[in-house]
């Protein structure tokens, strides 16, 4: 028997795939790395020195760290109790609450920020309401500290679902008999949690914490809207214009990249060696028990109030989008639908929708083709270096969009792919590369769940391999493919950092960039931007709903590390 299944088509595809990854994953990063160390052909550490010595950069890095840490801690404190309630108790409507948790994710945080700014402004709804009620006699500066608090709040409200998914999965994966063994040995309560449950959850928790930290650390849109400019992401964004004169941004990008790599390495080094799903399960006790009536009420109260708070940004965006006049009043004095009509009339918003649709369709197509092919190779063939292929396809999950987009912009500047002239190819590729892991995972899961004997049966009856693939396999895993495709499409439509960085000309602005640009440009930009935000929100809700219908309960798995 041959060691590997390598025929010419496979080989050519693999070479092409590796080429693609080299060109659009490694080369841009390498380019930024080199640029940060070499100036005019001379090797220098000057920029890294500057990063450490310059008070401006020090401040930015420190702020980003604070943002990341506080967000991580706050999301942890929110998700841990939630996970315990939802994983350990059974009650009516559990599935509904599990779905509800994901709802706040349907809005990019920076769009939420637009609405929040309106609502929490000095004379915004909240202050006016509190003044009216006589609870305060001076308007409160909610987002004091130059907007830091506002950014943190939005990051937390946006990211706690992701933390929750990881924590809940980690908790659910703890073999109940391990906890029972501890109770049998005389342990209980917090001591049991500290000595057994939490250590066992640690790998899953850590994975979630890293995602949340990196996300908050590298988020670009939210600080921009709050005009909180002293963070690494904004520094990088601002230096794009004069990148040739000031290569400082390269050093910052490399810094973010190394930070990401460091965290993932850390988690692998400390936790990767521990495999906890080691022994076959014995008696399966579900680990959950029915909630008492009081407990059910408590769970609903906690979940509904949290989701209510998390949806304030969404609500405020919606209110802003329908406000004709909203000045010194708790709610808009007059409402209007004209901003929605305007979305389809204003040249920038209209073209941005067309642009986003085109980019998303193209990038999703690319994802589907690549994703299916990679998943097929991983599950159905014996090829050398499978682990490497797997790792490469999953890598973008860990890579901040900011870093990749910046690498594209800089690395392909001056070539025929230069985003300054025509950003469409790079935007499509950026979207595709960033969402490829979702598609690979969805297809991979499908292939894995489909018994190979079904394919073998077809081949046994005379169908060729390709024919089997199209007539047997694809119909069986269609749900997974559709769900993966929908997710890729939805996230491409609302991709933030790639769009902000790569789309540099008005006529090529996708939706998110247009929202950002409109905010700054017109008198009623915020209203139009909000209307577009609502449009995006609806799109994402419908997409997630559809994907959920196809994927069922496995939906959450796509968002975990």
């Amino acid at each position: 028997m041959k060691r590997f299944d390598l025929n010419w088509p496979t080989l050519i595809f693999l070479v092409g795939l590796v080429g693609f990854f080299i060109l659009f994953l490694f080369y841009p990063l390498w380019y930024a790395f080199v640029q940060s160390l070499v100036v005019d052909g001379r090797f220098t550490f000057a920029f890294y020195e500057l990063m450490v010595t310059s008070p401006v950069y020090q401040e930015s890095i420190l702020n980003s760290f604070r943002l990341g840490m506080i967000t991580t801690i706050a999301t942890t404190l929110l998700s841990l109790p939630l996970a315990f309630l939802l994983v350990r108790y059974d009650f009516a409507g559990k599935g509904f609450l599990n779905g509800l948790i994901l709802v706040p994710m349907v809005l990019p945080p920076f769009v939420g920020a637009i609405g929040m700014k309106q609502m929490f402004a000095r004379f915004g709804s909240i202050n006016l309401l509190l003044l009216d009620l006589g609870l305060i006699d001076q308007p409160v500066d909610w987002f004091g500290g130059g907007g830091f608090v506002g950014v943190v709040i939005l990051e937390v409200l946006h990211l706690y679902p992701i933390m929750y998914l990881n924590v809940a999965a980690a908790l659910a994966n703890v073999d109940p008999s391990l906890e029972e063994a501890a109770r049998n040995m005389g342990s209980r309560g917090f001591r049991l949690f500290r000595t057994v449950t939490f250590p066992l959850m640690l790998p899953g928790y850590f994975a979630g914490a890293i995602i949340v930290f990196i996300w908050a650390f590298t988020d670009l849109g939210t600080p921009l809207i709050f005009n909180y400019r002293q963070v690494v992401a904004v520094e990088i964004f601002n230096s794009i214009e004069d990148i040739n004169e000031n290569p400082m941004a390269y050093a910052l990008v490399v810094f973010v990249l190394l930070l990401t790599v460091f965290f993932f390495y850390l988690s692998k080094a400390t936790l990767g060696s521990r495999r906890y799903e080691m022994i076959a399960r014995g008696y399966i006790s579900s680990g959950s028990r029915p909630a008492s009536r009081g407990m059910t009420v408590l769970i609903y109260a906690a979940m509904l109030s949290l989701t209510g708070i998390a949806l304030i940004p969404h609500m405020s965006v919606f209110l802003t989008s329908i406000a004709e006049r909203w000045f010194m009043a708790v709610l808009p004095q007059e409402t209007t639908g004209r901003f929605y009509t305007m979305v389809f009339e204003h040249p920038m918003s209209l073209s941005s929708i067309e642009m986003s649709l085109m980019l998303s369709v193209l990038s999703t197509t690319l994802d589907i083709v690549l994703g299916i092919a990679i998943a097929y190779l991983l599950t159905r063939t014996r090829i050398p270096y499978k682990g490497v292929l797997d790792a490469m396809a999953m890598l973008p999950l860990a890579l901040p969009g900011l870093v990749l987009a910046f690498g594209y912009l800089a690395g392909y500047s001056g070539t025929f792919l230069d985003a300054r002239h025509y950003p469409v190819p790079l935007l499509v590729i950026a979207y595709a590369v960033r969402r490829l892991p979702y598609m690979v995972r969805a297809a991979y899961a499908g292939f894995q769940q489909t018994s190979m004997t079904l394919e073998e049966a077809a081949q046994n009856l005379g169908a060729s391999r390709l024919r089997t693939l199209f007539q047997i396999t694809f119909p069986l895993i269609l749900a997974n493919l559709v769900a993966g495709g929908i997710l890729c499409f939805a996230f491409a439509m609302l991709e933030v950092s790639d769009s902000l960085i790569l789309a540099l000309k008005d006529e090529y602005y996708p939706i998110t960039k247009a929202i950002y640009a409109l905010m700054g440009r017109m008198a009623d930009g915020a209203y139009l931007a909000s209307a577009m935000g609502v449009f995006g929100m609806v799109l994402l809700i419908v997409s997630l709903f559809l994907a959920g219908r196809f994927l069922g309960r496995r939906m959450g798995e796509l968002f975990r590390a």
């Binding site: 073999d175 008999s177 391990l178 029972e180 063994a181 501890a182 109770r183 049998n184 040995m185 005389g186 342990s187 209980r188 001591r191 000595t195 057994v196 250590p199 066992l200 640690l202 521990r274 495999r275 906890y276 080691m278 022994i279 076959a280 399960r281 014995g282 008696y283 006790s285």
Partner: protein, 365 residues
């Protein structure tokens, strides 16, 4: 060390009766077996003893103390889980030490006890290993040490050997028995493997559908099964149905293959009862000599002979169409060949006459 008493213990899962009025008494220091097919409630019973499940009705007594509502961590039972449930984030030493730490024992006392426990299960050299660096048998021993080190009132074992390969299983059987004897601790052992229960148990409770079908020594339950289920579940048995014809000097049943004389397997045997005559395959002989006779003689034709080395199995078709299985030891001589017309003989002592209950008939596999 506890003696254990269960009074009317009943447990329901989603309207399925998992345990139905269980009454059991287990003496302090006894090695007691709960035997039954999967789903019979034996594991649930064990988990009720550990406190992981609450009985819906009934009481659990450890000696005279009612522990029905006592939470697991206050029961002082040592459980060995089917999957061992060793904490993968702790070393072997830490795993064993955990229960002592929870009992706020001094460092010195803990060290001593853990060392002794590991010695007892011959795992001293593995103290600093992590559980997933151990083989199944080694993990099993650590789980045992962890349960024993806290000097529990009762050790609860949930199919502890089911994840081991056959040879290791035999080895561990002996070690477990030795440990139980040396420590004199009460042990309750759940298994679906009848051979395990017969080989190790002092007393066995055979369970069926949430009820105790029979309690007794291995010899009792094998030789004097009380129901068709017990007869079928433990070992192999031939069942020939018939009707009681006479109960005067001995129990005689009329069957399709003639009268069969046997022992009453239930109380109040009456003429006219529908019964099953249960006969173990190893108690039936070929009567090669035409003139030789015994309590029971039936005729048949050999359909199949399976040579297994130490024994040889025969399947004999009777005139009624039923098949009877025989096991002959000392399979060096040729007893019979397929196609042979044979006379089968078995003594009246070896036949247990059981009530042929409709519900039993449905459940028996």
């Amino acid at each position: 060390m506890f003696g254990i008493k269960l009074e009317n213990v009943t447990k329901r899962f989603d309207n399925v009766l998992a345990l139905d009025r269980i009454n059991l008494e287990i003496d302090a220091g006894e090695f007691f077996f709960l035997l039954g097919p999967s789903g019979c409630g034996k594991t649930t019973l064990l988990r009720i003893l550990a406190g992981f499940e609450q009985p819906e009705r009934g009481r659990v007594l450890f000696d005279a103390r009612d522990v029905t509502d006592v939470p697991p961590h206050e029961r002082n039972t040592g459980m060995v889980f089917q999957n061992y449930a060793l904490w993968p984030h702790m070393t072997v030493w830490k795993n064993v030490e955990y229960g002592l730490t929870m009992r706020n024992m001094s460092q010195h006392a803990r060290d001593q006890k853990v060392r002794r426990a590991l010695e007892m299960v011959q795992m001293s050299g593995y103290a600093e290993r992590s559980p997933n660096q151990l083989s199944g048998g080694q993990q099993q021993r650590v789980a045992l040490a962890r349960a024993l080190v806290i000097e529990p009132g009762v050790v609860l074992l949930d199919e502890p050997l089911s994840n081991l390969d056959a040879r290791l299983r035999l080895e561990m059987r002996e070690q477990l028995q030795d440990l139980q004897r040396t420590l004199g601790v009460t042990m309750i052992y759940v298994t679906h493997d009848q051979k395990e229960a017969l080989a190790m148990g002092a007393r066995i409770a055979v369970m069926q559908m949430g009820k105790v079908a029979q309690i007794g020594t291995p010899r009792d339950v094998y030789r004097q099964p009380l129901t068709r289920f017990v007869a079928d579940f433990i070992g192999e048995i031939n069942l020939i149905s018939g009707e009681i014809k006479s109960v005067e000097f001995e129990v005689v049943a009329t069957t399709d293959v003639g009268d069969i004389r046997g022992q009453a397997g239930y109380e109040g045997v009456q003429v006219g009862d529908q019964v099953l005559c249960a006969i173990r395959p190893e108690t039936i002989d070929f009567l090669s000599d035409e003139n030789k006779t015994t309590d029971n003689v039936i005729l048949g034709r050999v359909r199949r002979a399976i040579y297994l080395g130490e024994v040889e199995q025969f399947f004999v078709e009777l005139a009624s169409g039923d098949q009877v299985k025989l096991i002959q030891y000392g399979a060096t001589m040729q007893h019979a060949q397929p196609g042979d017309e044979v006379r089968l003989g078995f003594s009246q002592q070896q036949v247990v006459v059981l009530r042929d209950e409709a519900e039993d008939r449905d459940e028996a596999v």
